[in-house]
């Protein structure tokens, strides 16, 4: 996280030196600072910073892809003349345990195809998820565990 701060400071320095504090110039400075940091990554110990950035970006891309897919699936479902629904609530045992990670996972589950998080148990070990198609809960559980939960753990641990 401190390297992220260094990165931001370098971007500010770039803007100060060039004298232009526009959004585009700040973003360019950020990318430039990232390049500089990647040149000296062995010396400042920022190897982890870059692989983490890559994992956060890959999590964000996966999320956007799943969001578009899920809106599309809802559209198909809603517009089909005969809605064949098997809704239900199933319990999902959580592996992540920090508040921040649970919130992120619950939000992502809500915005992905066919699932909606309803509640977290008091001991924070079980997430209750409502699914449009709850006929194969084991399959859905495996998808969440190997998709978002694994990616969240990779990105933030």
């Amino acid at each position: 996280m401190s390297l992220f701060l260094v990165n931001v400071l370098l971007a500010l320095a770039w803007s100060a030196v060039t004298g232009v504090f526009s959004f585009g110039n700040l973003a360019f400075g950020f990318v430039l600072a990232m390049g500089v940091l990647s040149l000296i990554r062995e010396q400042v110990g920022s190897v982890g910073y870059f692989s983490r950035t890559r994992r956060v970006v890959s999590l964000a891309l996966l999320f956007i892809y799943e969001l578009i897919l899920s809106a599309w699936r809802v559209a198909i479902l809603v517009l089909s003349p005969r809605m064949d629904l098997k809704p239900g609530i199933f319990a999902y045992p959580l592996k992540v345990d920090r508040d921040f990670e649970i919130t992120l996972l619950a939000n992502m589950i809500t915005l992905t195809p066919g699932t909606l998080s309803v509640d977290v148990s008091d001991d924070r070990r079980i997430l209750f998820v409502h699914a449009i198609d709850a006929s194969t809960p084991d399959q859905t559980r495996r998808d969440i565990a190997e998709g978002f939960e694994r990616k969240i753990m990779e990105a933030f641990r």
């Binding site: 969001l67 809106a71 998080s117 509640d119």
Partner: protein, 118 residues
């Protein structure tokens, strides 16, 4: 270039409006509150997000773009939370799943909790 951008933002407006329409049809057609939240949270978020992105493309101005993108991010953050809260509140006051439901693994846990607290 300008024509391409205009066409692109027009396409985003159309697609976004279609998703908003689908979300509202879903609210009418789906059987119970929980299924309806699926339509409202997903198609609704994507619909309004696309409209905001169309605005960002059309304005072509850094300030407007930044605000539109911030709007998209806040939508992504808040829509699932309100869906989650509505579903949780509905469950807490005893609104159960519709007749087509195939399973409800939450029922046993909630009964245990309420009987324990009394």
């Amino acid at each position: 270039m300008t024509i391409a951008l205009t066409l692109l933002s027009a396409a985003f407006v159309l697609i976004g409006a279609l998703f908003a329409l689908v979300a509202s049809i879903g609210l009418l057609r789906l059987p119970d509150l929980y299924s309806r939240m699926h339509a409202a949270s997903k198609a609704g978020t994507v619909g309004s997000g696309l409209l905001l992105i169309a605005l960002a493309i059309h304005a072509g101005e850094a300030g407007v773009m930044a605000r539109a993108l911030a709007g998209v991010i806040f939508f992504l953050l808040t829509a699932p939370i309100s869906a989650h809260l509505l579903a949780k509140a509905a469950y807490a006051v005893g609104y159960r799943l519709g007749p087509t439901a195939v399973r409800d693994e939450m029922a046993s846990t909630v009964e245990e909790q309420t009987s324990g607290s009394i």
